[in-house]
Amino acid sequence: MSLFDKFLRIRELGIFSIIVVFVIVAAVIDPRFMTLDSWRAVFLAIPLILVMAMGQMMVIICRHVDISIGSILAFSAIVIGLLYIQFPGLSLWLSLLITASVGLVMGLINGFVVTRFNVHSIIVTLGTLSLYRGLVFIVSGGRQIDRNDIPEHVVSFSQTSFLFSIPGILIFSAIIVILTHLLMRHSVLGREIYATGSNPVAAHLKGINVTKVTLFCFGICGMLAGVAGLFYASRFGYVNPGVTGVGIEFIVIAGVIIGGTSITGGSGSVLGTFLGILLLGIINVALPVLNIPGEFQKAIYGLIIVVALALDQLIIYRMKKLSGGINA
């Protein structure tokens, strides 16, 4: 096993052990943390973030970042909410198809501007973050979609299902996670995404269409943010143009980065991302248990991002130094 490979394993193992320690400490301090209710809360909070994290992970692996996903989520949630007001009978499958398509288009727009005009993706998506959020207000007229606008079969999607009453969104997000894993780990395209992020010049020399690969990642990232919009409507039972999805991109990015996906591209795994998101979810539920005010959540997430970035950079620096690439 190479140094880097080891490091990745250590990273995944590391987060896993942090999770274990965290859970034990929380459980010792307050046994209420180990109740079914709090774990249910963890696993209900996760799917939304997890689904978005899969797309964001792909984008980061190919050396970009998409910070517009919160607005994409809100737009798709508003669109589907407005449709429910008109057509309360809209089936879940059709809703999925609609939200996914809405997100896909928005993601592709991001990808198009990034690849065509060669501007850093963070700046482009900072623009579309506002652009899409503005569209949310324009389309909705600023009006909130209320609980009674959302049909019962959509709400129950996040509460129960035919399978042991496990919430539908949990099952569905598990499927997306597994599909992403298969795509990234085992498909030709998935490996080309890693190759593109690892060394774009070499990828081009080997005949990989770097533009297409990048567009694909942005497209999927948008699509999954769109699907998350449906999850949001189902789980929270309302969509508010000014609240829904605001700031969620930073939670997603925090989870992806702490999960071992390198911001310099080329590395990252679905398992790591899952563990990263799980850790954030547990922290979220455990904070009140540990008597830490919920207000600290964002600061903790921010700290996690900065520490993970610094750690990654230190490791890259050390490894380059080991291989004689730079002079200290």
Binding site: V65, I67, V113, F117, N118, V119, H120, I122, I123, V124, L126, G127, T128, L129, S130, L131, Y132, R133, G134, L135, V136, F137, I138, G142, P241, G242, V246, F250, I253, A254, I263, P293, E295, F296, Q297, K298, A299, I300, Y301, G302, L303, I305, V306, L309, A310, Q313, L314, Y317
Partner: protein, 326 residues
């Protein structure tokens, strides 16, 4: 005809230097927005109205001027809006803890400086790309603000402190004067001093700059620190204007601040741009926002226009610079 003109320009570098510049786009946009807003409402013919409309954006304008320097030197700081909120909250907390006004102000500016220094150290020492790092500290600083203030509005300031936007010299509100003076001072610094010139050189080619003996890292560190300090000033000004400090102040302001810099024709990849452009772009944003308000377009819906403008401004500026290089 156009070819002949561009040939003529390439033979006259001085002329081209003055003609092919993206800030002319900003000037033209400003003229268009003034004319069309006067059509929209006679208010806009009244200078006092425009001045009053400008006060809420002065804090952003101040930061946009420092951000112009940072982008010219090839970096970016996206944690600015969070630093406004954090320093405002620290100011409010300190004052409510009974520290008194001068001490609270000092603490606010000092904490802003520390935040900026932290960004700068991570960028120059650890070589983390600033665009990614400041996305991280954006979350961190806002989070600390939230941890400190929770959902409370920190108020209770003496009346002399509140409402700086309602103090005037003539018809000009004091914040607008502060902004204008600051723009002139920094603009002069950038265009006429050796340090300003070195910022352009660093942004054009950091390697050559290093080999020419320019202290690239120290200058960048200084810029990030300065950015934090100015955000601290903006935090106190915002608190004076709103009479309270909240953790969610200036949410999303990085968009408007980056927009002011980009609209002003500063090159996103560094090395080019100036304060004049940013100054003009500030007024475009002011008039645009005021116009949209008069036209009763919801504040939130205006985001669409601002977002689209940011992307178009970048594409246009890149295009103009790619032409002027030939």
């Amino acid at each position: 005809m156009l070819n002949k003109f561009s040939l003529y320009l390439s033979e006259n570098p001085t002329l081209r230097y003055w003609i092919v510049r993206p800030e002319w786009v900003a000037v033209i946009l400003l003229i268009i927005s003034i004319i069309s807003s006067i059509q929209l409402s006679p208010f806009f013919a009244d200078l006092a109205f425009i001045m009053d409309s400008a006060t809420p954006y002065v804090e952003y304008g101040l930061i946009a001027i420092i951000l112009t320097l940072i982008i010219i030197s090839g970096e970016i700081d996206l944690s600015i809006a969070s630093m406004i909120a954090l320093t405002a909250v620290i100011f409010g907390t300190a004052y409510n803890a009974g520290l008194g006004m001068p001490a609270s102000m000092f603490i606010a500016l000092f904490s802003g400086t520390i935040c900026g220094l932290f960004n700068g150290i991570l960028v120059t020492k650890l070589q983390i790309p600033s665009i990614i790092l400041t996305i991280g500290t954006l979350t961190l600083y806002r989070g600390i603000a939230q941890s400190l203030a929770s959902d409370f509005s920190l108020g209770g300031y003496p009346s002399w402190f509140i409402g700086i936007d309602y103090r005037y010299i003539g018809i000009i509100p004091i914040p607008v004067i502060i902004f204008t003076v600051f723009a002139i001072v920094v603009g002069f610094f950038l265009s006429s001093t050796i340090y300003g010139k070195q910022l352009y050189l660093i942004g054009t080619n950091p390697q050559t700059a290093k080999y020419s003996g320019i202290k690239v890292n120290r200058i960048k560190l200084l810029l990030f620190t300065l950015s934090g300090l100015v955000c601290g000033i903006a935090g106190v000004l915002t608190t004076s204007r709103l009479a309270v400090a909240r953790f969610n102040m200036a949410t999303g302001a990085e968009l408007e601040i980056v927009l002011m810099v980009m609209l002003g024709g500063t090159y996103i990849f560094g090395g080019r741009g100036n304060i004049f452009g940013t100054f003009i772009a500030f007024w475009i944003v002011v008039i645009l926002r005021a116009g949209l308000n008069v036209a009763r377009i919801k504040i939130e819906s205006q985001l669409t226009i601002l977002g689209a403008m940011l992307i178009i401004a970048i594409i246009l500026t890149n295009y103009i610079y790619s032409k002027s290089q030939k």
